[in-house]
């Protein structure tokens, strides 16, 4: 199949299996989101797909195993954005986004005109071109996330691996960033594999969800099948209610474990 697929993936960190035999797939141009409690193995799975931790099993891009690819070639196909990207405070936005061209440069190569054009259009696409000369330290949280996405876009990779792309943002900026990612995938045909901790947002943006629990797949499928009060209750040890939102997609709302302890009215 086309797109990104992960087969029987097992990752051990310090000899502890963190991801155990997980298989899942994001169709080309689709958005697959991993959800699950802290420590379920979401980030580790993403890092394995980026080739950053050793794994057993396979990661296939359009049916071809990426393990055999040289690092630079893999980086041209798959872009990775960590949960907390390192932003050198004195680096300018433009220089930072230009780093996205690294996989396209030979060992002693330097960025040329084409690299600068790609960088400029990535800055444009994420609406940060006017900040090009600004130092990263002077960017706000939402702007930073857009700059980081611009760097990923500058790699011209077909797959975006996003680890909690909205974790540091308020609800407005979360929505803005998720809309941008959705736009990139619709306009540019990018395939997105992300983790998202906000279950309602995950249901709104991803075509398919994979619920991980202790390194294994607890449930997978469209939002309506995965975001149920029973499943979430069992996997997260949380008490929630799931209602249909105005758009028909599930809205997950937490409930206090003991209903009689709510605010006094």
């Amino acid at each position: 199949m086309t797109g990104l697929s992960v087969q029987e993936l097992t990752v051990a960190l310090d000899r502890n299996p963190v991801v155990r035999g997980v298989s899942c797939a994001a169709a080309a141009g689709g958005w697959l989101s991993l959800i699950g409690p802290n420590g379920a193995g979401k980030s580790t799975l993403i890092r394995a797909a980026a080739g950053l931790v050793p794994y057993q099993g396979s990661v296939l891009l359009d049916g071809a195993d990426v393990r055999s690819l040289p690092a630079r070639e893999r980086a041209r196909l798959i872009a990775y954005v960590p949960q907390e990207p390192v932003l050198p405070p004195d680096m300018t936005v433009e220089d930072y986004v230009l780093l996205g061209r690294t996989p396209h440069l030979g060992y002693l190569g330097t960025p040329g005109r084409h690299d600068r054009q790609v960088t400029a259009s990535a800055l444009d696409r994420l609406d940060v071109a006017r900040f090009a000369a600004r130092r990263l330290a002077r960017m706000s949280g939402g702007e930073r996330q857009r700059v980081v996405l611009a760097r990923a876009l500058a790699t011209e990779a077909r797959v975006l691996l996003l680890d909690e792309p909205t974790s540091m943002l308020d609800v407005g900026h979360q929505q803005q960033v998720l809309e941008l990612i959705d736009g990139l995938r619709r306009d540019g045909g990018l395939t997105v594999l992300s983790t998202l901790h906000d279950l309602t947002a995950a249901g709104q943006y991803a075509d398919e969800l994979v619920l991980l629990h202790e390194g294994q797949v607890a449930a997978a499928g469209p939002a309506a099948a995965v975001l149920t009060a029973d499943l979430i209750g069992a996997v997260y040890a949380a008490r929630v209610t799931v209602v249909a939102g105005p758009d028909g997609r599930p809205v997950v709302a937490p409930l206090r474990p003991r209903p009689d302890t709510g605010p006094r009215g």
């Binding site: 690092a71 630079r72 990775y80 960590p82 932003l87 004195d90 680096m91 780093l99």
Partner: protein, 343 residues
């Protein structure tokens, strides 16, 4: 544009520093005649100069080798400091932290104390090997420790290993000194404080190949150091091999430091202060920080040496004292501006 401008300023600074140093000293050379005599050496330029034969000897055999040695040593120390700062992602690092100085100190001490008749000629090669040995010991210790513990990304472990190796070498050096003749102790201390007073064309030529190779390698890795700024993991996700880049740059910087230390002794602060000035001038990217450090470091050391040999003339101040007097306050300034940077 800013980068080209900065390079131009740095180049003018270096040329001015070299001219000043060539003109200032015990023998009073006529400035115009000196400039004419220097320009006469440029191919296809022929200028008459009123310098006497003695003045010419002073200029070409005493002052110029010393100026050129200052250029080499200052450039090497500054560019390797900048390289180390890029590799370790820390603006306060320099070669001293990685066992290079302690290794060179131990090498020179052993040569002075145990070489017998060989004397001064044994010191440069011994310091050179000691400096490389210090960095190698630090690197291997750090690599072994981080493999065993999986601690950090290797950067912190490497620095700690460098500090440990430095302490060990210094302890051995102290032991050797404590058991040696007073005259040797004096010689070792003079060497430790740094000096360019032994400058000859022969000494310049002896380090030139190492200087050239190491500087070229470091300069070619500016872009890699910029990628390393986002951390090992993201650098790897961009298709780079951070460990390989680190090894290559550390090896080249070790060679640069060893060449400089071999002919000048221990001269502190150049490797920390100069790259910082380069950042202020041309921005934080290593593709400009490295060449700017090379030029500014060269000019700075030539000026420091001019002070060292004129302030107490005819006696000489150790150049390490001059760079420390300028460098220590500047270091505090860097510390403040690094920590007080607006968020």
């Amino acid at each position: 544009m800013r980068k080209l401008g900065a390079l131009g300023i740095a180049a003018i600074f270096l040329i001015a520093a070299m001219l000043i140093s060539a003109l200032v000293g015990a023998a009073d050379l006529n400035p115009l005649d000196t400039v004419a005599a220097l320009a006469d050496k440029i191919p296809f330029v022929h200028l008459p100069s009123g310098l006497s034969a003695l003045d010419r000897a002073v200029l070409f055999q005493i002052r110029l080798p010393r100026v050129v040695l200052g250029v080499l040593v200052g450039g090497l120390l500054a560019v390797s400091g900048a390289g180390y700062q890029g590799v370790f992602r820390n603006p306060l690092v320099d070669s001293g932290l990685l066992g290079a100085s302690a290794g060179a100190g131990l090498g020179a001490t052993l040569a002075i104390v145990y070489s017998g008749g060989a004397g001064p000629s044994a010191v440069p090669p011994a310091a050179f090997l000691g400096s490389l040995g210090g960095v190698a010991a630090a690197y291997l210790t750090g690599a072994a420790a981080s493999r065993r513990t999986g601690f950090g990304n290797g950067v912190a472990t490497l620095l700690l290993a460098g500090i440990a190796v430095g302490f060990f070498f210094t302890a051995v050096q102290t032991l050797v000194l404590q058991r040696s003749a007073e005259q040797d102790v004096q010689t070792v201390y003079n060497w430790l404080l740094g000096s360019l007073s032994g400058a000859t064309w022969q000494l310049v030529v002896s380090i030139l190949p190492y200087a050239a190779v190491s500087v070229v390698i470091v300069l070619l890795h500016g872009r890699h150091l910029d990628v390393l700024a986002v951390g090992d993991e993201e650098a790897r996700a961009l298709g780079m091999n951070p460990a390989a880049v680190r090894l290559i740059v550390v090896a080249a910087c070790a060679l640069a430091t060893a060449s400089a230390v071999a002919v000048s002794g221990l001269i502190g602060f150049v490797g920390i202060i100069v790259p910082h000035v380069a950042r202020r001038l041309g921005g934080p990217g290593y593709r400009s920080v490295l060449p700017l450090s090379l030029l500014i470091g060269a000019g700075f050391l030539v000026l420091a040496d001019t002070l060292a040999r004129t302030v107490l003339s005819p006696a000489e101040l150790p150049i390490g004292v001059v760079t420390a007097v300028v460098g220590a306050p500047a270091f505090v300034w860097i510390l403040r501006s690094t920590q007080g940077a607006p968020p």
